[in-house]
Symmetry: C2
Subunit: 326 residues, 2 copies
Amino acid sequence: MTVDAKILSALRAAPIGISGTELSRKLNMTRAGVWAHIEDLRALGYDIEASPHLGYRLLGAPDLLHADDLVARMGKVRVIGREIHVFQETTSTNDVVARLARGGAKEGAVVFAESQTKGRGRLGRKWISPAGKGLWFTVLLRPDCPPQGATQLTVAAATALARAVTLQTGIVPEIKWPNDILIRRRKIAGILTEMRAELDRVQEVLLGIGMDVNLEASDFPENLRRTATSLRIETGQKVNRAELAVTILRELDRDYQMVMEGHFEQLAEQWEERCTTLGSQVTIRFGQRVLRGRAESLDSDGALLIRGLHGHLERIVGGDVTMEPG
Amino acid sequence: MTVDAKILSALRAAPIGISGTELSRKLNMTRAGVWAHIEDLRALGYDIEASPHLGYRLLGAPDLLHADDLVARMGKVRVIGREIHVFQETTSTNDVVARLARGGAKEGAVVFAESQTKGRGRLGRKWISPAGKGLWFTVLLRPDCPPQGATQLTVAAATALARAVTLQTGIVPEIKWPNDILIRRRKIAGILTEMRAELDRVQEVLLGIGMDVNLEASDFPENLRRTATSLRIETGQKVNRAELAVTILRELDRDYQMVMEGHFEQLAEQWEERCTTLGSQVTIRFGQRVLRGRAESLDSDGALLIRGLHGHLERIVGGDVTMEPG
C-alpha cells in the first residue's frame, strides 16, 4: 500500500479520530510528513478534520475514484482487486488491461477509467462513458478452463453486479441473459467478456464492466433514453461510486471463487431467480441467423437453453437476444 | 512493394536477364539508382550478374528470409501474405502479431523471425527456434466465426503445411491431431493457435507455425532427438527456406479461403487421409483428466471423436494426445 492508502485506511478504521502521533508511528514517518500527505488528500477533496483533541478524522470523501482509496477500502481480498489502477481517460479499460496482461500483471488486477473515449459493448457496439458519472472498469482473470468456461464467468459477474446494486441501493435488479443488468426493464449495466485463448484453454479473461451510476437522463443520447437508465435516475439520488465499486469488487471476488471451486450451480440458482429472460419468448439473432423460442433454463456451463418452435432444445452461447413483451 | 521487392520481382520474371535501361524504366528511377539497389541486394547475398549484353540476371538467392523478396515471390495473394515482416530475433512471433493486431494490422499479415528467444508450443511448452534453421512465423486472421470455429482453422493449416512439404520435398507427411506434422512419426512442424474472442465471436486468430527445416540432429536438445526431426535430416539436403515459406503461405491462403467459403468438408477429407491419429488407440490428458479410446473421425467443426472404452463417443477439442504404438 502507498502512504495515502495507509492513511485513508487508518482514518477509516478510526471513525472517532486518530492522533497525529499515532498516525506517524503507524506510517513510520514524521508528523510533518503525515501532515503533508493529509494536505494532498484534502487537495483531492477528502474532508479531513484536524483537531488538537481528536486528532485526524475523515468526515467525507469526494466522488472520485482514487486508486489508493479503493485499495484502502478493499482491505484483504483473495484475487479480485489485489491491484487497482485508475485512469482519468482511456480508450477502453479492456484495452488497458490487455496491455497490462501482456506485461505480466497479476490475476485480479482492476483498471478503472473516469471516462472512456472508445468504450464498447458486445457485438462491437459503442458504450457511452461520460466522465465521473459511472463505473467503467475491467478485471483481469486467468482461470484454468477451456474457452467455453468463460460463459460461467459472465453469469457469475452478472449475479455479483446484481447483488452489489441491491446491497448499495436496496433495488433488486433483473438480469437479461447473458450480460445485462436491468432495472424496470432498462439497462443499468453490461458486461463485455473478452479472452485470449488457445483452442482448449483460456490464457486470460478480461471482464469489462460498465455501470451507469450517476448519469442523468440528459447524459444519454436520445435513442438510448427508453432502454437505458442509471442508479441516480432510479433512486432519485447520487450514489457514492467508490463505495459501490468496492462492493462490486468484493462480490465479484466471492463469485469468482465459487466458480473456481466448482460451485457454479449455486450461482446459477441466484441467477435464474433474477433472470427475466427465462420463461420469456425470445428472438435471438446471430449475424444472418434468427432463432425464436422460449428461454427454458441455464445449462451447466452458462449457455441458454431455448425450446424452439418445433419443440427441439437449442443451446445458445451468444447472439443478440430480444425479449418479447409479455 | 518496395524498390527491392520490385527489382527482385522483375529479375525473377526475366530468367535470361533484364537490361539496366528497362529496369530503370520499370522502377521509374535512374540507372545509377538501380545500380545502388542491386549493390545492396548483393551485400545481402543475392548473386546478381551484370553483363553488358544480358543486363541483370539473378543467379542465386541467399538462405535468408527477406521481407521484400518474400513479397516479390508471393505475387498476388487473396489474404494471407498481403503484408510480410521479418525480424532477426523476437520473443515469439505470436507476441509480435498480437501487438500488430492491436495496432490495426490487416488480416493476412505474416511475421517471420530468424530466431525466437521464447518460442512456444501448445500447453505452454518451449519451442526451440535456432537462428536461420527453421520457419518460425505467425499469420493474423480475423475470421467471422465463434471461438469453436478456430479448430477448423487449425485443421486447415495442418493440411496446408503437409501439402507444402510434399510440394517442396516429395515427402508425404503424417498429421497428428490437432496440430502436429510428422515424418516417420517424428514431429517436423507444429501449430499454436491463439485467439482473442468474445463469448460468441472471434476477434482475431494468431496461427503460429514452427517448422524444423534445416536443423541438424545436434540442434535438438537430447530429450527431443527421438521425437523431433527436420526436413534436412529427412531429405539429406538443405531446403531453401524462402521458397518453402512462399509455398506454405500460398497453401494456407487457399485452405483459409476454402474454410471461409464453407468447404471445410473437403479439407477434412484430405486431413483424414493423412492423419495417423484416426484409427489409433489414444490417450488424451487434459490437466488431471485422462481419457482412453479409439480415435474414430473428425467432427464437422474439427473436433476429434473418440470411442471410449465403454462404447460412448466423446468430442475432444484439446488436450495432450498420445498414440499407442501399433
